[in-house]
Amino acid sequence: MAVATFFGARVNRREDPRLVTGNGLYTADVVLPNMVHAAFLRSPYAHARIKSINTEKAKALPGVIVVVTGKDIASKLNPVPCAWQLTNAEIKVPKYYPLEIDKVRYVGDPVAVVVAETPYQAADALEAIEVEYEPLQAVVDQESACKPDAPLLYDNDVPNNLAFHWKISSGDVSRAFAEAEVTVKERLVNQRLLPTAIEPRGALAQYNPSKDELTVWITSQNPHVHRLLLSLMTGIPEHKIRVISQDVGGGFGSKIPCYGPEAVVVLLAKELLLPVKWIEDRRENYVSTIHGRDHVEYVELAGKFDGTITGIKVITYANLGAWLSTAAPGVPTILFGTMLSGPYKIKNLECEVFGVLTNTTAVDAYRGAGRPEATFILERIVDIFARKINMDPSEVRIKNFIPRDAFPYTTPTGLTYDSGDYEGTLRRALEISGYKDLREEQAARLKSFLQESTETGKRKRTKEKLIGIGLSSYVEVCGLGPSSIVRSTGFALGLWESATVRVHPSGKVSVFTGGHPHGQGEETTFAQIVASELGVNLEDVEVVHGDTDKVPFGMGTYGSRTTPVAGGAIVFACRKIKEKARKIAAHLLEAREDDIVFDSGRFYVRGSPGTAKTLAEVAWASYGAGSSELPSGLEPGLENTTFYDPPNFVFPFGTHVCVVEVDTETGQVKIKKYVAVDDCGKQINPMIVEGQVHGGIAQGVAQALWEAAVYDKDGNLVTSTLSDYAVPTAYELPSYETASTETPSPHHPLGIKGVGETGTIASTPAVVNAVCDALSNFGVKNIDMPLVPEKIWRILSSSSPRLESPSSTTSPS
């Protein structure tokens, strides 16, 4: 029957008609009677003492209900919590209050809040608040911030602004380097990015005094976590808060954390007995919502001339911004350092991470979170190594891949990769991209470029465009994650997921998931899972999420966890329902349970499929619960709640190939071809997988070529609007060629792995490798991202290209 094909079918996303016709319900869309509007006054200084705040004039303005400063609410709100307090890292979590009290620490730091009848009046009142600041020296880059003479953000609470110092190592790294035939090293920068969800953040809180309950509509990727953290900050008990987050317009990690102003809005609603709404504008979003990445890395690789990689050593300075955001400490450590051997059988590995506070917006998880940073340095240094030993980068990778028969494979950092065929995806990617031909074309172009340059006597005055080919192979840890592992790293909660599957008397099904999809497509794929498991029509399955009063405690959507973990919970809930339904069917058919066959939504006695009970009939009986309907001893009803704690993470992988053309006159880079071969195990809906891969690649390419959050030395965010921060459009991006291989996860009930972040992880180094490849004959080893035309133009106009192969100029070190 058709229903059996629901798993694996290219079903259209059922959330799309609602979203593309403007019928989504976002936080800003919720309007309540008597609703008033909050606006936050934010610091114009990156670092300053607050000498005084005068709110009198603001209070006197029309429509203004209240003006509150940090001092006014200091006793009412706890500091913003940090939920990932690393073990063995001497972590220091500074007290960072929802409204600053005597000092501001970044441009955008909130110092006061206005509540007024209209947002216009609130904005007017902000201008009327008088704050006297005493500016202090600011420090924005992490390497300076942890030097002894740097200004301190939290005085002696965080000496040297060093929030933590984390290390991981395995094998014998010193010996690997001492015995190496070749070593390469490079300083690599993973620049700061702005997550840029199209919907900015916001919250609307309403207090109901008759029930002493608060309802909070909020832009959240994890409503239950938000409820818990809001409760911790405000002291309002968890069971008295209901968090609703229906549609969320993108998060990319930025809507995981709980932010100070969110708690302020909740407090104000309770005190004023009025619904209080606050919605960020784009500038506010850019200065006050977390940023991503921002690593400075010192990377060294040890290897042999035959291409074997024997060791890797990394020192990372991670910029954490002005406070430790909810998951921040885990991102540049657990999600980064443990993945530094990637898909390769590197045994000797050492990584040291300095987590540094600076006078900038906090940095936390951004699509990929830690894993793009790890993949970037690994894939860059592997390419640099390949060039040094004059070996094709694809061969170096193949030489070092963990072979397909070595799984499950325990890495030197203690993770157990579930399954993989790394060479398989690489070979597919080479084949699809026509790698050999590309290399030949590249050589031909370079030759004619050099000829033309010398003939005209005016070097580089040529129309010839250079070609570069970049590879990137990755393995990602996702499906976060097995609770006991996660807890041992210092994370405050387990990372299991909940599901309630409820078969209604009519046979219709509601699924309540603790995941909180916001664009990833699980409203569709989860319905596909249920339709396949229970044999019901897709239209008869409703997926409910984003409301703490409806859904059991759940952990939310991030870390490519929703499909594997929340999906796993749904599968097991369905299977438990089937077990009970089978008992009821046996009773109805007057047969033994063992003789009941379940197929495509029908229960029948083996051998007589003609007389069957549908799931709907069984459901009806389960609610009727008369003695002819329900076997004695069985409870009425047909639903199940499962908390699924995965036995392991899942590890998707793949290889991407990027081909670029570099305009030698302007330094402009154009992507000519982009091939992605990914393996995320079994695919519930290949179309949605492709969508995730496409979006992910776009975000990763954006980092390679255009995006960068830029601060000036005084700590002003220069890229604080969408006309400054260069988010690419469809026009800049190539048409992707995607393909996949299928290596199921052996420990997952459906064999699936996450795919929400793979594109972002793989694409950034593929593009940078391609551009560096194009310029390799100009003596280029590395260019810091983003690879804007000027940087490339400078290289092209200041160095002479040479044709000789790099091996003849290098000697073993």
Partner: protein, 296 residues
């Protein structure tokens, strides 16, 4: 992003508009497409007390041919100029320039008049107006006057209009059909972005199609206002269309240019170099469109 309070008027005629301008003067602002003014108001960089919305004045929005001129109403949208068959036929560089502005939403609302009065050196229209030697009709209660393309821009974000004046019409000499060509080349970080540099060229060749008879060169984003590359124009006038001459003119223009360093779009040095590259590309294109088959 909430503007300050303002009073709003929506006049139906030019006469009514200039009366309002006369009355409220410096405290008033004309609202055309709003694509520059509204962002400034939302950021509270501009806070006019009175907003005079001219969008209901139908007879400010037109493109028509009149003798040797193409006349464009100040309220004509970028989109109209991008798509108009008349424009593409008579002065195609206008269509090319319009298509390089912002994104479809901006082009649907933004107007050529608004862009010119806004006088952003990064605005694309300025360079093309200079290359075409456009002139600008301006009205006030005091009367009417015409400004040429050398005098319309006074400084960064400042046009030569007085606060009581309304730009009503842009008048463009139609180039001879068979031996002229124009091109606008824009170098941008990404589509929809303001120009890192831009070069507009409109040329007319002599009858033999060998030498430059007329030439206009305007540059975007390399000076406090849209800039006429006067010395580069002079260097080409009367000379043959050769690669060496084009290269020399582009070099001269890059020396005339006065770009500034900016963190996002590049250093002054880079912009100078790009001025040369893109002006040369524009010159080659324009020459091709004017009928030069191969440039040596």
């Amino acid at each position: 992003m909430f503007p300050k309070e303002f009073q709003y008027a929506s006049p139906r005629s030019v006469q009514e508009t200039v009366q309002l301008l006369n009355r409220f003067g410096t405290e008033a602002k004309i609202l055309a497409g709003g694509q520059s003014l509204i962002p400034l108001m939302k950021l509270r960089i501009a806070s006019p007390k009175y907003l005079i919305d001219i969008n209901r004045i139908r007879d400010l929005e037109y493109v028509r041919e009149s003798g040797e001129f193409l006349l464009i109403g100040a309220l004509t949208r970028h989109h109209t100029l991008e798509r108009s068959e008349l424009v593409k036929d008579k002065v195609p560089i206008l269509s090319e320039t319009a298509s390089s502005i912002g994104d479809p939403q901006v082009r649907n609302l933004g107007t050529i008049g608004g862009s010119i009065v806004h006088s952003d050196p990064a605005g694309d229209w300025g360079a093309t107006m200079i290359a075409l030697r456009a002139s600008f009709n301006v009205k006030s209660l005091r009367g009417e006057r015409s400004l040429d393309s050398d005098h319309i821009f006074s400084d960064t974000l400042t046009s030569s209009l007085s606060p009581d004046e309304l730009l009503t019409e842009i008048s463009i000499p139609i180039p001879p059909r068979d031996r002229s060509g124009g091109a606008y080349e824009k170098f941008e970080r990404k589509v929809g972005d303001f120009a890192t540099v831009g070069a507009a060229v409109q040329i007319t060749l002599d009858k033999a199609k060998k030498a430059f008879e007329k030439i206009g060169i305007g540059l975007t984003s390399v000076a406090p206002t849209s800039m006429r590359a006067r010395r580069a124009e002079e260097s080409l006038l009367g000379r043959d269309v050769t690669l060496a001459n084009l290269d020399e003119a582009a070099t001269i223009a890059s020396e005339e240019a006065r770009p500034i360093d900016d963190v996002l779009r590049g250093s002054a040095e880079f912009k100078r170099a790009m001025t040369k590259v893109f002006l040369k590309r524009a010159l080659i294109k324009a020459a091709g469109r004017a009928g030069v088959i191969e440039i040596e």
